[in-house]
């Protein structure tokens, strides 16, 4: 039985990016805030020491910073005819745990979605007609918000994270050297772009010769010492190459622990409860009001924490699972396409071309998760899709993340996997290889969804989340198309061998693709097809906000966290400006 604790104003579930933002903004308002985090307290000096951080076995191969599947995992299957089985080891994606969440070991690429993304369905029908849309067999939705509403919140997140880059469009004026496909920004990035290693430089030069418009990948690995608006100081990125899957020892990679929590933890009205896992949100008898959360602490005791306002920001997977476990919304039914909780689960369609050069040295160990150059001509609806038989596309980038050798010694196809020949090939190709990636859109179709697993349970006896997903035909055609295009760029760069790897079915848990899962608790303007309104407020339960990539109705060809951060500031702004004055549903 859960022991009831004294009530507080606000509980926040999860102290990663979204939860830390909400907790900070509401604590600023003077409210008493308790943040629950299932993992440990993490901070740079304690956990990411410079003398032990660059350890590939520990952080990358053995997944030190990720949620341990023993604590919680998901089950997976490609379609409803299969039996879902648990991900016993993370493969396809890498969820986080502990303060900072996945934001500690993320790569730091910080995009804004483009304006058409927020009204994708309407946009495609306007441009290509209802028939072409119907033929795609997709179940796309508009977001119920737009670029003008999102822009200030993107700017706020970038200021907190110290995002480094070069604007492509300031107030409608296209800027030389930036991404011309960006929506109009209110101002320049907070920090100038990072320096570029050889790989991205050669890519950008060749792409420009081919008529593309290369730009600096927007990066929350900061290019210089930076103090953010909360007074928290970050150090310049040193291109150490132990970045994605690692914590940063230099305070250079933006994460809640390097940008927000150092300020938040000093506030007397904020308490962080770590190693405390929330199991569900409690509702009152009417089901129209959240009353708090049930959680278990590190000693194994279970408590009820009552609160006036409940914020769930536990990463997309756990956001959806907690809503299913709490009975919030109607579970989605893939046969009828009705129901909202678990709806429109999407992923990212990651494609790649590996380039092998005989006569070049890229020093591939120099880099970081978001160090690189990109082009956006192949993304989203930036090119005419008439007659192509698919919608969508991806951001094409060369981002050398570092090349620690357990995971980064590619050899050309056909090379033996072991023995003397293998070793010779490893040596021959280590310095002279690089890759061009295309992180492409993932669009919703009726059969892809999230639900509770009927068989497998977590250590507390609660069902695991079940993921039913495979790539739609639309996305497979898109993957072929964009991968051919990036292969052409690779050829033009002068590679001796170009190995194209478009994403193919079935979706699998065998190798890392991305941690950019989206959907399941969508934002929208229609309660029959969405779960939260444009303020991230749950339809029918006005004191429950669910924040994260779970709100995205489908995933564009961009990494999600810039938008997750913006949505968190958007929700906080609505609570501060509207909800606290008049606690009820905020439609307008």
């Amino acid at each position: 039985m859960a022991t009831k604790l004294p009530a507080t104003d606000v509980v926040v579930v999860g102290l990663g990016w979204a939860g830390s933002i909400l907790a900070h903004e509401l604590a600023e308002e003077g409210l008493n805030v308790i943040g629950f985090e299932r993992g440990p307290w993490r901070d740079t000096a304690q956990d990411f020491n410079i003398a032990s951080a660059p350890d590939e076995l520990r952080y990358s191969a053995r997944q030190e910073l990720m949620l341990r599947t023993r604590q919680n995992t998901v089950t997976m299957r490609n379609n409803t005819s299969q039996t879902a089985l648990p991900m016993r080891e993370w493969g396809s994606f890498h969820p986080g745990n502990g303060t900072g969440g996945a934001g500690n070991h993320w790569a730091g690429i910080t995009y804004r979605y483009d304006p058409s993304t927020f009204r994708l369905k309407s946009h495609l029908i306007e441009r290509y007609g209802q028939q072409a849309y119907n033929d795609s067999n997709l179940t796309l939705q508009d977001w119920g918000t737009d670029w003008d509403e999102m822009e200030p919140h993107y700017a706020k997140f970038e200021a907190i994270a110290g995002t480094s880059g070069k604007a492509g469009n300031i107030k409608g004026e296209i800027q030389e050297g930036g991404n011309p496909f960006e929506g109009p920004r209110s101002g320049e990035y907070p920090n100038p772009p990072l320096k570029q290693p050889y790989g991205p430089t050669l890519f950008a030069k060749t792409a420009a010769e081919m008529g593309y418009k290369p730009y600096y990948v927007p990066s929350s690995l900061v290019s210089r010492a930076y103090t953010n608006p909360l007074g928290v100081t970050m150090g310049p990125c040193t291109y150490c190459g132990f970045c994605t899957n690692y914590g940063c020892a230099n305070y250079s990679k933006a994460s809640a622990i390097t940008t927000i929590l150092p300020a938040l933890i000093r506030k007397p009205n904020f308490i962080a409860k770590t190693n405390s896992e929330v199991h569900r949100v409690t509702l009152d008898g009417s089901g129209k009001r959240a009353t708090g959360v049930i959680y278990t602490d590190a000693s194994g005791r279970t408590w009820e924490q009552p609160a006036e306002l409940v914020i769930v920001a536990a990463f997309i997977l756990e956001n959806v699972r907690l809503m299913l476990l709490s009975g919030v919304g109607t579970p989605y039914d893939p046969r009828t396409g009705k129901g909202t909780t678990g709806r429109n689960y999407c992923y990212q369609t990651a494609n790649n071309a590996q380039l092998f050069f005989k006569d070049k040295n890229f020093n591939p160990f120099i880099g970081g998760g978001a160090v690189g150059m990109g082009i956006d001509e192949l993304n989203n609806d930036n090119f005419d899709h008439s007659g192509l038989g698919f919608f969508g596309g991806g951001s094409t980038r060369v981002t050398p993340i570092g090349a620690a050798p357990i995971g980064n010694t590619p050899v050309p196809p056909g090379t033996p996997k072991w023995g003397g020949q293998w070793k010779r090939a490893v040596k021959e190709h280590y310095l002279g290889n690089m890759s061009v990636g295309c992180e492409a859109s993932s669009y919703a179709q009726q059969g892809n969804y999230l639900s509770l697993d009927p068989t497998y349970k977590d250590p507390h006896g609660y069902p695991l989340l079940r993921m039913t997903f495979d790539f739609p035909d639309n996305d497979m055609r898109m993957a072929q198309y964009v991968t051919d295009k990036i292969g052409e760029i690779g050829e033009r760069m002068g590679a001796d061998q170009v190995v194209k790897t478009p994403r193919t079915r079935p979706w699998n848990n065998l190798s890392y693709q991305s941690s950019h899962m989206t959907g399941g608790f969508l934002m929208g303007s229609d309660p029959s097809t969405s779960s939260v309104n444009k303020h991230l407020q749950t339809w029918g339960i006005p004191n429950l906000f669910v924040v994260g990539a779970s709100a995205a109705p489908q995933n564009p060809g961009f990494n999600p966290t810039g938008t997750v951060g913006a949505l968190a500031y958007k929700a906080a702004d609505a609570i501060r400006r509207l909800y606290l004055k008049n606690p009820g549903e905020m439609i307008g």
């Binding site: 032990s52 076995l57 191969a61 490609n78 050889y198 040193t238 291109y239 405390s276 072991w418």
Partner: protein, 253 residues
């Protein structure tokens, strides 16, 4: 291996650096390991949840029997043979690395979800075996020994290099039948762990003197390339560094 209970003695270079880094960045709030409710500035306690690895102590095997160890040493020496590019897998310490890994949390999959039922599943659903690495090695090595005895009346380690390579190829292709754990999966696990041992930081017992890093030109645990990032298409010839130090730090004279 950094295991969750790793007892540590003395103050290492890492701890000293950890302490000085902490004082340089007072802005970082932190915690006392035991306290789970944080308000205001918590105390700082280095590596509270998981200490960094220390070099595996001693010469004796921690998981393998002497016979198993001899077989594994023979295998890693074929997977990564000695040649003009580098020493072989055995001398590089790959078998020691695997032994220490099996003795740590990896060996029992202590961090992984190992609840039943164990369905067979589709290839896309990934590893669904109920066996943990300690069992996979124990069973696999025993069946390999049986196979070698019945086919060649000798232990794997007594066969010549060509014979060993043939057997390894057959394992890789799943052509030799193992009862308890499929031979192709066993081979893939040994190969994966051997490569980890060859390429991981030497503090884990393999990659002796950073041999693989020197071979390919990976500078190891350096953390600052600001002066090099714009030196395009140039050979940098940087001496590699381990998280345990540089070669010249670890040898006297």
């Amino acid at each position: 291996m950094s295991n969750d209970s790793g007892a540590r003695t003395g103050v290492t270079r890492r701890q000293v650096l950890a302490t000085s880094a902490a004082t340089a960045f007072v802005a970082a709030a932190s915690s006392k390991a035991s306290a789970l409710t944080f308000t205001q500035l918590p105390e700082w306690s280095p590596f509270a949840h998981n200490p960094p690895p220390t070099a595996p102590p001693g010469d004796h095997w921690q998981f393998f029997t002497a016979d198993e160890a001899a077989t594994i040493e023979a295998i890693v020496d074929r997977l990564i043979p000695a040649d003009d590019l580098s020493i072989g897998g055995k001398e590089a310490g790959c078998a020691v690395f695997i032994d220490r890994q099996l003795q740590g949390f990896f060996g029992t999959f202590a961090r992984l979800y190992m609840e039943p039922p164990f369905g067979k599943g589709t290839p896309a659903q990934g590893d669904q075996s109920p066996l943990v690495p300690q069992q996979r090695y124990r069973f696999g090595l025993a069946e390999l020994e049986q196979y070698c005895q019945s086919e060649h009346q000798a232990s794997f380690k007594e066969l010549n290099g060509d014979q060993q390579d043939q057997i390894l190829s057959a394992l890789e292709q799943g052509e030799i039948h193992f009862e308890k754990y499929p031979s192709a999966d066993f081979f893939a696990l040994v190969l994966q762990n051997t490569k980890e041992g060859f390429f991981a930081d030497p503090v884990y017992g393999g990659n002796k003197d950073m041999v693989s890093w020197k071979m390919i030109g990976f500078p190891g645990a350096r953390y600052d390339y600001r002066d090099y990032v714009e030196k395009h298409n140039q050979t940098l010839d940087l001496e590699p560094l381990s998280i345990g130090g540089g070669t010249h730090w670890n040898h006297q004279g």
